[in-house]
């Protein structure tokens, strides 16, 4: 019995001391899912590691969740794409500095046969109005992510309130971008997404780009976190990463990223 207990204690000690081999310097990045799913980080992380010796540990959740996690001090850097939410985060005092990094495009994805019906519209909110008036099936993220916040904003711009929509055609799935696209394609519905996610998505089925927003872009920004609010934050390292990404070299790195030959991110 004593032997059993000592074994147990040893195991617990091993489990607690047990740490994986990590890079000397690393930061935790709370990020939007689209950047991870598109393979963007696989493109930039090795270069950042090489040039400034910092490894990025990316936790990909929706923008809303990323900001919440940062409010719990569980990230050293935010890379998100919802301006209002980022500004609100700065106002709480947890955010230190916000820098716009790059943009991609907003897309409406729809089934093959109806995709072209939206392209004539002048503004993406007109396309949204058309979906509403035809009561065409629409799949919403419903997860408070950057894309979801954008979608709500576009409905409002079209003079509509998505809370009043019938669940017969407006479906809130409360899932990540990938799951939402999988659902939307199976239901032959419309959905809002960003170009990086769409170009790298493998399960497109018959779905097509129904509308590409050429006026308002999907802007990703970097937000550092205030070390006065979160004393454990690795502020120096995250500032180094921000400096690198916004440098000439970093911008060149961002604009050299392509998916199947298509450039997706454009530095600001």
């Amino acid at each position: 019995m004593v032997k059993l207990l000592t074994n147990l204690l040893t195991l617990i000690v091993i489990a607690i001391v047990y740490l994986p081999p990590t890079f000397a310097k690393s930061i935790i990045v709370q990020s939007s899912t689209s950047l991870k799913n598109s393979g963007f980080y696989q493109h930039v992380i090795p270069v950042i590691k090489n040039e400034i010796g910092i490894d990025l540990h990316v936790v990909a959740v929706g923008t809303g969740q990323a900001i919440k996690n940062a409010l719990n001090c569980d990230g050293d850097l935010l890379i998100t794409h919802a301006k209002e939410a980022e500004l609100a985060f700065l106002k709480t005092g947890f955010g230190l500095k916000r820098l716009e990094l790059m943009y991609s495009h907003w897309l409406i994805i729809g089934p093959e046969d109806t995709a072209n019906s939206l392209t004539v519209k002048n503004d993406i909110s007109d396309a949204f109005y058309l979906i509403f008036s035809k009561k065409h099936k629409f799949v919403s993220r419903g997860d408070n992510s950057g894309t979801h916040m954008r979608e709500i904003k576009l409905w409002k711009k079209a003079g509509l309130n998505p809370k009043t929509f019938s669940t017969k055609w407006y479906l809130e799935v409360g899932s990540g971008q990938g799951a939402t696209l999988n659902t939307s394609i199976q239901l032959e519905a419309f959905t809002l997404t960003d170009s990086a996610t769409w170009f790298s998505f493998q399960n497109k089925g018959n779905a097509q780009i129904a509308y590409k927003d050429e006026k308002n872009f999907n802007v990703y920004s970097l937000t550092t976190i205030n070390s006065k609010k979160c004393p454990n934050i690795k502020l120096n390292e995250s500032e180094e990463v921000v400096d690198f990404l916004t440098s000439k070299r970093g911008k060149a790195l961002i604009s050299s990223f392509s998916i199947n030959g298509e450039l997706v991110f454009f530095p600001l």
Binding site: I28, H57, N72, Q202
Partner: protein, 237 residues
């Protein structure tokens, strides 16, 4: 049909490519699961045995709670562990969030009730059968418990395998506390979730098939050990 055939092809391609990334992910999956199952067994088996062989106040209540905990939704456990180990949480100073250690902790919370309850059930049935026998011969409680455990070692292996099965296939809790970070906290199940969200369905299924194959291997190995070394017909007690 095409998708499923593709995923089998994808699985075989992956297995025979000996992709170092795949090996890393598989290794981490098993490391986390095995450590979690070991610790849970060290907690759950004695606890289940004590609950089965003793009588005390609130015993029934405790048993009911443990049985209810068997159905804990992993996401809830993930959130609970996240809130504790978040840098703003009680144990945030340990800096363990987004590490394999915290994934092990979440797994322990999930599988200890399973191991405890199944042990309880196994040992209790033996206890009810032999209690009077041992009492009439004035055999001490500790000795009796030892006999119960030796007698039901077969079932206890199955109990541990049940914990293993739950742990290796778990995704909801560990994706929250581990964060699915590449080369750090990515395991088979979270990799499958990621590939699904990329729309890479055949690769996701391929990974699932590999996970299944390895799990089958572990189970077969345990059954082999059971039959070879623990079978009563091979061995005198």
């Amino acid at each position: 049909m095409g998708q499923i055939t593709n995923s089998f092809l994808e699985a075989f391609k992956l297995i025979f490519s000996f992709d170092p990334e795949l090996i890393e992910i598989l290794y981490l999956s098993f490391e986390i699961t095995i450590i979690a199952v070991l610790i849970s067994s060290f907690i759950g088996i004695p606890l289940g045995t004590v609950l089965a062989c003793t009588r005390f106040y609130f015993r029934k209540a405790i048993i009911s709670i443990f049985f209810a905990l068997m159905g804990l939704p992993p996401v809830v456990v993930g959130l609970f562990v996240y809130l504790i180990f978040s840098r703003s949480g009680t144990l945030g100073w340990m800096g363990l969030l987004y590490s394999p250690t915290v994934m092990i902790i979440a797994q322990i919370i999930l599988i200890t009730p399973i191991i405890c309850c199944l042990t309880f059930q196994t040992i209790e049935s033996v206890h009810l059968k032999y209690r009077e026998f041992f009492q009439s011969f004035h055999i001490g409680r500790l000795k009796a418990v030892k006999a119960y455990i030796i007698d039901s070692r077969f079932e206890l292996i199955t109990v541990i395998l049940a914990g293993f099965g739950r742990s290796i296939s778990e995704v909801g809790a560990i994706i929250i506390v581990g964060g699915n970070i590449d080369h750090l906290t990515r395991v088979m199940t979270t990799a499958i979730a990621l590939e699904t969200s990329k729309g890479n369905l055949s690769l996701a299924m391929g990974l699932g098939i590999i996970l299944l194959l390895v799990a089958v291997f572990v189970n077969v190995a345990m059954i082999f050990i059971k039959n070879k070394f623990l079978n009563p017909s091979n061995q005198d007690l």
